[in-house]
Amino acid sequence: MNIRKLQAFIFLTFTGLIANAQEIEMADDFRGEGKIYVVVAVVLLLIIGIFVQLMRIENKVKSLEKENEGSN
């Protein structure tokens, strides 16, 4: 590590610390109000819908494979 990189590293570390000392914006209130759960519920609904569809395809493929084995 050359001197310049070291300087940059120290500079970034310290600015990072200062920035940390000041408040960094996070969605505290949002979560505090509990509204984030609505988003989680919506995304969960979507992903579970996708999973249900995957399982339906899965079953369809399985029955086709059984049929195929039977015919051979």
Binding site: A19, E25, A27, L44, I57, E58
Partner: protein, 224 residues
């Protein structure tokens, strides 16, 4: 892959892990970092796309080599569907990264070495799909595709893991930047991140196994 096709238990694991990722990814405490703010949570959604892609392409190259050894077209089908799913993950990784970059780096595409390298990697794999599509004979398609696949994989690894690390990059872990690096990836993130990688990767394999089972059925039908 053959084991994954035969067994079912890991599909329940996939669903559990992805659901855990969504709940934990949104609700678990995240480190307070400047610039990133809450977008640090994208770690559980954007990054696993790349892990998934690499595992899928690794599976693909293994089956490409298996095809070359056995000349069994089923191996070729597995190899081809793994590439398809890997490309899907790669495109999703690029697009999700562009959305994220737009809000943290200021623009969707900043010619970051990792962005460029992954775009090139995508093009290389697109070429594989086009190459396969342009050959009519099944065995010729499989053989040339498999050889190309080996070369593509040999280029993929330096493109993603070595070249971006040689220069400064906006991506974490490369050069100096205020994103998260090894020291910032705190334990709260790890608790969700590792299950997330496994969950999304397995989801990719689930899709790939479904696709290849359908193709194998079609293949058997053609033989009759």
């Amino acid at each position: 892959m053959r084991y994954l096709i035969r067994s079912d238990w890991w599909k329940w694991l996939t669903m559990a892990l992805v659901i855990y990722t969504i709940v934990g990814g949104f609700l678990m405490p995240a480190p307070r970092l400047p610039i990133l703010n809450e977008t640090v949570r994208n770690l559980h959604f954007h990054v696993p796309m790349w892990f998934g892609m690499i595992f899928l392409f690794t599976g693909s190259v293994i089956y490409a080599i298996k095809y070359l050894k056995t000349k069994n077209l089923e191996n070729d089908i597995l190899s081809a569907t793994l590439v398809d799913t890997g490309i899907l993950f790669g495109i999703l990784g690029l697009l999700s990264g562009m959305i994220w970059a737009n809000f943290t780096w200021g623009e969707p595409w900043s010619n970051d070495p990792k962005q460029n390298a992954s775009a090139i990697a995508m093009l290389i794999y697109f070429a594989l799909v086009i190459l396969r599509g342009s050959l009519a004979d099944e065995h010729q398609k499989a053989r040339i595709g498999a050889v190309y696949n080996v070369f593509a994989f040999a280029v993929l690894i330096p493109l993603l893991f070595i070249l971006p690390r040689l220069t400064d990059s906006l991506h974490p872990g490369n050069g100096g930047n205020p994103g998260f690096n090894a020291y910032d990836l705190d334990n709260n993130l790890r608790l969700v991140f590792y299950p997330a990688v496994l969950g999304w990767t397995l989801l990719g394999f689930w899709v790939a196994t479904l696709q290849s089972r359908i193709k194998i059925l079609e293949f058997k039908k053609e033989l009759e």
